[in-house]
Every structure is written in structure tokens, then in C-alpha cells.
């Protein structure tokens, strides 16, 4: 652990990861629903930048387009329209679910951590391939190796769209 060199990449990563961690804390700790949603937006955005630093450009930009640009706008939209009122009304009373949830959460974190951390601890710097996340590489992979799953997913999305139209518009 002592031979970690302070490189610009490391500083960048620490800054971004710190912001992401703080933002995700803010999501659960803020009393105001709009501020929580904003923290989630920030978290998604910083996550996208982390993807960029790993040369996964396409993944990062999809993250921004889909989550930050579309889904979170919808979240905010709903929160504003619902007008939740004061946060005290939303506070739950003591419940067996709370400690149970905490136990399960810690268990899950331990499980994932025990699998992931040993591989990461010895790493001192990232070494991403230069072109594995470009749209060209991704498109080639999707339309050759994974063409069938890709088409299946697109059919699934189409069903989802048709279903939502059917729900929204009873009389066609």
C-alpha cells in the first residue's frame, strides 16, 4: 500500500469519486425531495465523467443522455407536480423493517466487497484500453456478436412503448 504514486489521474479520480460519494449520501440524507433528486443528478453526471476517464466514452455519454438528461428530468417533474409538502409527514415510525434492511444492506455490501476489493487493492493506477469504449467498437460488437440479444431488447422496448401508449390513451 505504500507505493501508491500521486498521479494526476489519481487526483482526478479521488476528486470525482469523492463528489460522487457525497452526492449519493446527499440523496438519502436530504429532507427535501427535490434536493435529493438533484444530488442523484450530480451523482449520475460525475459517474459519467468517471466512465470518460476510463475511456468508456459511449457508456458515459449514454449515462448522461438517458439518466441525467431524461429520467431525472422526469423524476423532478413528478416531484414538483406532487408537491410533497413538509418532510416530517413522510418520516416513518420505528419498524422491524429498518434494522432488517440495515442488516441485509451490510451483508450485501460485505458480499460485494469481499469479491471486488481483493482485485482492486493491488491496483495503483488504471490502465484502460484506448479504443474499447468508442461508438465504433461498441457498434461493431452489438451488431455482430450480440445482434440477436440487441434485437430482442429492441422488441422489448417496443412492447413497452406500445403498452404505455395503450395505458395513456384508452380510446384509440
Amino acid at each position: 500500500m505504500n507505493d501508491i504514486q500521486i498521479t494526476p489521474e489519481l487526483i482526478l479520480f479521488c476528486g470525482l469519486a469523492g463528489i460522487a460519494a457525497l452526492a449519493s449520501l446527499g440523496v438519502v440524507l436530504f429532507q427535501n425531495a427535490v434536493r435529493s433528486a438533484l444530488c442523484l443528478v450530480l451523482n449520475f453526471f460525475v459517474l459519467a465523467i468517471l466512465y470518460f476517464t476510463l475511456n468508456a466514452q459511449m457508456l458515459g455519454i449514454t449515462q448522461i443522455v438517458v439518466y441525467t438528461g431524461a429520467i431525472m428530468v422526469l423524476f423532478l417533474f413528478v416531484i414538483m407536480l406532487l408537491n410533497l409538502g413538509s418532510a416530517r409527514l413522510l418520516e416513518e415510525k420505528w419498524d422491524i423493517k429498518k434494522p432488517l434492511g440495515a442488516v441485509f444492506g451490510i451483508a450485501l455490501a460485505t458480499l460485494i466487497g469481499s469479491q471486488m476489493l481483493p482485485g482492486f487493492l493491488s491496483r495503483t493506477h488504471v490502465n484502460p484500453l484506448s479504443d474499447y469504449g468508442t461508438p465504433q467498437a461498441l457498434g461493431r460488437t452489438i451488431f455482430t456478436e450480440y445482434a440477436v440479444p440487441f434485437e430482442c431488447i429492441s422488441v422489448l422496448l417496443l412492447v413497452g412503448i406500445v403498452g404505455s401508449i395503450l395505458l395513456a390513451k384508452r380510446k384509440i
Binding site: P8, N32, V34, R35, L38, V41, Q57, M58, I61, I64, V65, T68, G69, A70, V73, L76, F77, M80, L81, T134, P135, Q136
Partner: protein
């Protein structure tokens, strides 16, 4: 080229920082001129005079501090100092904030409105110096533009929410619906060009536009605005661009006759200036996107000066000179073209009345999106058919001719259909179907008295 070599020798971080600073200054500096130009041009189009006084100097005839040749002289600045005066006024006014607003979000919103405007510019090449521009020549260029422009909605929506004002909130909600709707058509229109040029990089798109026109006329450039599919995509993109920047006729988020001032009603002084600045920078940036993708970027005319300079004819020397000039003054050309796009914005604003909300939605979803999608499919078919046709010398020209014929025929058919619809509606006396029952004025007056 020693300067370029020195520059490329710097660390990546410093290179990026220098590029970003130059580019931000470049798009930031003309904003006051845009504001002045909009006010003057609008007033000219509306038969007014507009701001023409601020900055006029009349030198004293008596003061001993004025040199002799200036005494009694009048300097006219045509109101160019008006934006400066407005800026000073805005920054020295009392800063009011509604007491019941969500303070943090209220202050965050103007910053969020400005951020995407500046960030979009990072992938746009604004001159021929590849070492200096664009700030980041990334593989995902056009997708980046779409992604960052989709963040623009946050500033408006949060401003509407945080103001704690019903009109502001309505403006913000309208803005979010409008921006999300028109983003799709925008993505589709840019997608057509991405298919056509085979790359998402703006620099590659520019390089594709510097090829011979239609593949056969070597001294002209193949700007995408000259190809049939590119022309359709450009029209769609221009409409979406006006909608994305919340400009008239798509300025529903700040419709002053319905919503006081929309999402920025509760904002004053510096924060209001931030919104305005974001809007103008956004206009210029989207203008630079349309220039780069459709209109040949920093090339003033669609002429390949380099090709002409290497031909054996008397004008070769002049052409070489112009090519050099084009290389060194690319940024100036870029600015002039940006100014032209801003002028188009202002012209549209002066010409068209604001859309009604249902018109806005039906136009975006039922006309623009199908048109852009059809265009995308046509480009894909085009690519397949050119591949099947192989390397026959004039297949490209025939394709272009057929494409233009198709566009013209489609426009004619649409026009005939439109005329017929208008005629039918006029015959029925139902030009504007509405569900409003007008109150009898006599009954209203008696009720009011009672």
C-alpha cells in the same frame, strides 16, 4: 509552425485549459454585440428606432481638458454601449429573492442554465488550426452535443420550481416538455448526417464537407446543406434549435402575455443576466453546431481554394492567397457566420407569432419527428443503394438529382395538401376550433353591477 509545436509539447492538461479559455472568450465576448444587434434589428423590422443614444459623446467646447481638435465634436456609437449600461445597471441593482423560495435551488438554477451553453462548444472546431480547436476532438462529438444540450432543461425547470410562483412553475414545466420533445427530432436530424459522413466527430463531418461537390465537381465543397437529405436535416435542425434555445416562436416558457415572464419572473439583477447570457451563448453555440454540421464550418464560400490554386490557370495565385487567408482568418469567418445565424434567429422572431401549446406539441411530434425519421431512413437506404451500385462514375449525381427531385415533389405535395386543408377549414368557417364559450357582454355587465 514553431508555436504549434511548442503548444503540442505542453502537458495535456495545460493544452486543454488554454483551448478552453480561448474558446470561452471567443463565445463570451460577442454576447453584448448580439444583444445590441437583436434590439436594433428588431426595432428596424418593427419600424422603431431602438437604443441609439447610450455611448454618444459630445465633447465640451470650453473645458481645458479636451484637446483642441475634439472641441464641439460629436461621437456616435449607435447605442453600442447600451448592453454595457444594462450590465452595469443589472449588477448594481438591489438583489431581490422571494422569501419563500428554496434558496439553494434558486441560486443554483441560473448557473445550471449557463453551464450547458458553454460546455456544448467543447467539440466544435472554430478554425482550421487543429492544434487549438476543438477543445476535445472526441469520438462521440455529436452525441456529446445532444447529451449536454439535454442538461439545459435543468436550469429552466429548477428556476420555475424554486421561485415558488405558479407562473414560473408553469413556465418551467412547459420548458421541460418542449425541450424533451424537440431533442428527439434534433437527434434524428444529426443522426442523418452522422450516417452520411460515417462519423460522429464534427471534424470528420467538416472534412467530409470539404470533399468535391456530389463527388464530381472538384472546385466546389460538398456542404451537407446542398445534398437533399442534408437540406431536410438542416431545416429540421434549425427548427429544433430555435425550440431548444427557447426563442420565439417557441418561447412558451417565457410567454409574457400568459406567464408574466415565465420561469424567470422572480429573478432579477445578476441572476437574470445569467439566464439572458446563457440564452445568447446558447444561440451562438447552436448556430456554430448548424454551421459545422451543415454549412461548412469556418469556410466562407463552398469553394475548394486549394484545388483551384493547384490548377494551371491565371487565377491560381489569387486562389492560393485566398486559401491562405481562409486558413488564417477561419475564426473570423466562423464569427461572421455565427452572426448570420443570430440574424436568422432575430428575423424568425420578428416574423412569426408564438405557437399555442397544442400547436407546439403536435408540430414537434406529428410533423418534425416523422420527417426527421423518414430522412434518417432515406439516408440509410441511400447508403445501401450506393454500395450496391458500386463505383459507377455518375451514380452519385443521378442519386443527388433524384433526391432533390423527391424533396421538391414532397414540398409541392405538402403545399397542395396544406392549401386544401386551409380551403376546407375556411369553407366551414372553423379556422380555429376552440372550446371556449364567449360570455354575452350584456349579461356580464349586469352581473358585474349586481
Amino acid at each position: 509552425m514553431d508555436v504549434a509545436k511548442w503548444f503540442l509539447g505542453l502537458a495535456d492538461f495545460w493544452q486543454a485549459l488554454i483551448r478552453a479559455i480561448i474558446w470561452v472568450l471567443f463565445i463570451f465576448a460577442p454576447v453584448p454585440i448580439f444583444i445590441w444587434w437583436e434590439r436594433r434589428l428588431l426595432s428596424w423590422m418593427q419600424d422603431r428606432i431602438g437604443p441609439n443614444r447610450v455611448g454618444n459623446i459630445t465633447w465640451s467646447t470650453r473645458s481645458k481638458y479636451v484637446p483642441g481638435f475634439l472641441k464641439g465634436k460629436k461621437w456616435k456609437l449607435f447605442g453600442l454601449a447600451q448592453p454595457v449600461a444594462d450590465g452595469i445597471k443589472s449588477f448594481t441593482k438591489e438583489d431581490l429573492a422571494p422569501s419563500t423560495s428554496d434558496k439553494f435551488v434558486y441560486f443554483l438554477a441560473p448557473a445550471l442554465a449557463v453551464f450547458p451553453a458553454f460546455a456544448i462548444g467543447a467539440v466544435i472546431p472554430w478554425s482550421a488550426w487543429r492544434s487549438l480547436t476543438p477543445v476535445a476532438n472526441v469520438d462521440i462529438g455529436v452525441l456529446y452535443i445532444l447529451a449536454i444540450s439535454s442538461l439545459g432543461v435543468y436550469g429552466v425547470v429548477l428556476a420555475g420550481y424554486a421561485s415558488n410562483n405558479k407562473y414560473s412553475l408553469m413556465g418551467g414545466l412547459r420548458a421541460s416538455a418542449q425541450l424533451i420533445s424537440y431533442e428527439l427530432s434534433m437527434g434524428m436530424s444529426l443522426g442523418a448526417i452522422a450516417l452520411g459522413s460515417g462519423s460522429l466527430r464534427p471534424t470528420d463531418m467538416l472534412a467530409a464537407q470539404e470533399q468535391p461537390l456530389y463527388g464530381v465537381i472538384p472546385f466546389l465543397q460538398n456542404w451537407y446543406a446542398f445534398t437533399p437529405f442534408g437540406f431536410v436535416a438542416m431545416v429540421v435542425f434549425f427548427i429544433c434549435m430555435v425550440a431548444e434555445t427557447n426563442r420565439a416562436p417557441f418561447d412558451l416558457p417565457e410567454a409574457e402575455s400568459e406567464l408574466v415572464a415565465g420561469y424567470n419572473t422572480e429573478y432579477s439583477t445578476k441572476k437574470w443576466v445569467m439566464f439572458m447570457m446563457g440564452e445568447y451563448v446558447n444561440m451562438f453555440i447552436f448556430g456554430s453546431v448548424i454551421m459545422t454540421v451543415f454549412l461548412g464550418g469556418y469556410n466562407l464560400l463552398p469553394v475548394n481554394w486549394d484545388y483551384l490554386a493547384h490548377q494551371n490557370w491565371p487565377g491560381a495565385g489569387i486562389c492560393e492567397f485566398i486559401a491562405r487567408l481562409q486558413y488564417w482568418l477561419g475564426f473570423g469567418v466562423f464569427f461572421i457566420k455565427g452572426f448570420a445565424v443570430i440574424t436568422a434567429y432575430i428575423w424568425v422572431r420578428a416574423t412569426l407569432p408564438r405557437l399555442r401549446y397544442d400547436q407546439l406539441m403536435s408540430f414537434g411530434w406529428r410533423w418534425l419527428l416523422p420527417l426527421a425519421t423518414c430522412n434518417l431512413i432515406v439516408v440509410a437506404l441511400w447508403l445501401v443503394s450506393t454500395k450496391l451500385a458500386g463505383d459507377k462514375s455518375n451514380s452519385g449525381v443521378i442519386g443527388i438529382a433524384l433526391g432533390w427531385a423527391a424533396v421538391v415533389i414532397a414540398m409541392l405535395v405538402l403545399y397542395v395538401i396544406y392549401r386544401q386543408i386551409r380551403k376546407n377549414q375556411a369553407g366551414d368557417g372553423k379556422l380555429e376550433p376552440r372550446q371556449v364559450t364567449l360570455v354575452d357582454p350584456n349579461a356580464a355587465s349586469t352581473q358585474g353591477a349586481g
